[in-house]
Amino acid sequence: MTNSWTDIKNTDLVVVMGGNAAEAHPCGFKWVTEAKHHRGAKLIVVDPRFTRTASVSDYYAPIRPGTDIVFLMALIRHMIENDKVQWDYVRNYTNAAYIVRDDFGWSDGLFSGYDEEKRDYDKKSWDYVIGDDGFAVTDPTLENPRCVWQLLRAHVDAYTPELVERVCGTPADRFLKVAEMIGECSSPTKTMTSMYALGWTQHSKGAQNIRGMAMLQLILGNIGVRGGGMNALRGHSNIQGLTDIGLMSNLIPGYLNIPTEQEPDWATYMKSRAFKPLRPGQTSYWQNYPKFMVSFMKSMWGDAATVENDWAYHYLPKLDVPAYDVLRIFEMMDQGRCNIYFCQGFNGLLAFPDRGKVTRALSKLKLLVTIDPLETETSRFWENHGEHNDVDPAAIQTEVLQLPSSCFAEDEGALVNSGRWLQWHWPGAEPPGEAKLDTWIMAQVFLRVRDLYLKEGGVFPDPIVNLTWDYADANEPTPEELAKEMNGRALSDLSDPADPSKTLVKAGQQVLNFSQLRDDGSTACGCWIYSGSWNENGNNMARRDNSDPDSTGAFANWTWSWPLNRRILYNRASSDLDGNPWDDSRRLVWWDGAKWTGYDVPDIAPTAKPGEVGPFIMNQEGVSRLFSRGLMRDGPFPTHMEPFESPMANVFNPAMRGNPVARVFESDVARLGDSAEFPFVATSYRLTEHFHYWTKHNAVNAALQPEFFVEISEQLAAEKGIAKGGRVRVWSKRGEVWAKALVTKRIKPLICDGKPVHVVGIPLHWGFVGAARKGWGPNSLTPFIGDANVETPEFKAFLVNIEPAAGEAVS
């Protein structure tokens, strides 16, 4: 989230598209209710299903799964055509005025530079014209036909209300009503917030869905303001933290990158990360990259990381592919190219697409280690559970070690909520039986491997034997020690840059925040964006002052948020070019004549003069991007792409299947179905009574929703002769499941391209262990294809067939 849960109360319009907050995030959704009751805010829901969020909305519009980009680009077209644009914001805070290279263009649903053979774009043309002075060329009048604004206008021209009706199945009048309501928020004194979740990410073009809405929010001037923003509702309690800390194939904590093979040395690695400003006088904060990177290397390897050895650059692995994401590693496992796999609190057998393939892959491992507080299907993938897990244990040679860990109630530390608040928590009990803290387990694994290398030698032991491990008890690093390591400290006295005779931080002291980090090896910091969370003032994440001066919703002294305890990102954009708030009733950060001040920590240098330094300081441009240059693999603007399994062809290019640059493994091509064999569109979702595969272990929730079902319309039930509560078989090209049929009015057939499209809803909470009845999840059916940029699997739009099955109807 750019904003926070408590900030939602400041909004005038909530758009829930790609999520279902009332059911999946019920207590956060209460802030929507607050905004409706106390501000008169309106709620719009766009969803294939009339969810409980829709049931309390002011306006609902249905949409075919996987067509959100058409809807979003049509909204942008509507705003441009009807002058619903916050012009001062667009002119000054976006790259609307930037001139784009002459060789950039698009046709047939593809941008310039497409290589069908490689399934990739040459992105060279997706860039600005750079002038002789080294800066991007702009036209502040926005009249140049090659400026971003004019190109965007031309790009969205095809996305008419009629196209929305044809592709999305949303009636044109419903689309127009939504567009009118949203258009009101182009006023500087009205804001809209976007609340989305996996309904937008789990697509082969998920990242472009989100960009589409981000662009709309920029055009309306809703980023960086109270009650606005792009608010990703994270699905788990700490996937925000796990991602911040870089537990992904290609990441280093704080969104730094693991090097690739094309970067054989430190100098080459740093060369592409210079982040020179693209306009005069801009901050381009990523210019500090070397300080964060060197401090990270010092944190990992201490004295072994020196300027002479490029800060131990070769201790880091170098990637030959963009990432070894889970889909790639399970593909490798299936090919017999992976021997050992760890699942720490992650139930892959139910979470990854194409469960048949996942089972096959796990069966080829030598060793699977699971670390979990609960029984999981993954740790028992080899166990026969009849139709629910039809495997032959004798044929599976994988050794499995199931390690019992603590759960949240038994450990101490911080979790990061959707609003980037790092909230410290305390244990109330001890782990049951012999279960152990995750930190103890990881320490044991490490210490034993290190001992083996120290005793026996082996291949490249250096990064292991030199890893910083200066915990008071090597066997049991404490949360305090680890949190302080992430915050960072001075390794030698740091002098004050303004007055070198003064010492700013003494050797051994915690740094105040990342502004004190250095690139000369004199500081260590595990995760620069968390720097400030545990400094010499103590554990700021444990703060519990819930006061909120002037009821802005900031709660600035409650725990701590990254970065620098800032509660709303890009908050300098809440004021106009001169530094005066756009909306006096929603003041956030403003220029007081000498410096930036306000309710939040300003997202700009405190004395950066208004009009000179742009508000989007992380970008080289100093402004936000309506045109994203070559930063995304599938285009600088979002363009319509059908799901890989779709009931209709792409209207711009009937020969194009799915996302033209998404990775498809050879072995999965034959596992894709078409609409002749699988005529119905399926989508997955959560229920309010369950959390993933955890609450089925709990008698209360298992009783509330005991049994796997699929949700279908009355029309589809009639067409297929399916009784209410009757048993059905649902199958895709990859697998089959049996379920109770929930025949409902919440899903209605849509008319797309003149033909009815039926949607089958598949909730995801059942497996074969726990207190609930045995069942299946959508992953028995879904395709093994991910988003082109981030490889999040396409769970939200795929094809199935359905038929009545033997068994008595329950209602």
Binding site: A24, N339, L401, A429, F691
Partner: protein, 198 residues
């Protein structure tokens, strides 16, 4: 103070004392007394409070956990969980999942000992922590030594290990995550991912 005991104490006193008959007339007959004897003690008596946050979705509602020493195990056990009224986001409220959190903490399917499933076996069997961890360390060392790629074909140092993978959690603390990061990265593992991917 335990309310149950105090009520019973009161009845005992009443039965032995002067007002037995009049109490009987007021409805404190034998059946009533027997019923009162079964009234459950105040649930939160002698419990310890701890502040925590809900481990499910990312709203991260504040909760208060109440625990006391379990007679059987001698360990602290959570006996009640409720919303934290001081928390700015949830202000004491919980959803249908959070309201049943105690049953997740104390679920019968919580794991209590390390177990091993041997190749081809159809059941788990117990294994000691030491033996399990030594097995893991041995397997990691052997696989790393056998499959670690130091240089690529062009002779560039790449120092990556692709035959072992690690999938990290979605609900562990930042501190666990950082320690996990250090351990996994220092070995050169590149098949490293977390629940954010899906």
């Amino acid at each position: 103070m335990n309310i149950d005991l105090s009520r019973r104490g009161f009845l005992k006193l009443a039965g032995a004392g002067v007002a037995a008959t009049s109490l009987g007339a007021l409805g404190f007959g034998e059946a009533e007394a027997a019923e009162l004897a079964h009234v459950r003690g105040f649930k939160l008596t002698a419990t310890t409070e701890a502040r925590n946050t809900c481990p499910y979705c990312s709203v991260a509602c504040g909760i208060i956990m109440y625990s006391r020493i379990d007679d059987e195990t001698g360990k602290k056990r959570i006996v009640h969980i409720e919303g934290d009224a001081d928390h700015p986001t949830n202000r004491g409220t919980l959803c249908p999942k959070g309201a049943a959190l105690k049953d997740f903490v104390n679920a019968p399917t919580r794991l209590t000992q390390p177990r091993i499933r041997k190749p081809g076996a159809d059941a788990f069997e117990p294994i000691g922590w030491n033996e399990a961890l030594d097995k893991i360390a041995r397997a990691l060392k052997d696989d790393r030594d056998a499959n670690f790629m130091s240089l690529n074909e062009a002779g560039v140092p790449v120092n990556r290990w692709t035959t072992t993978g690690f999938l990290a959690a979605s609900a562990t603390t930042n501190e666990t995550a950082w320690l996990t990061y250090k351990v996994v990265r220092s070995m050169g593992v590149v098949a490293f991912d977390n629940q954010a991917r899906v």
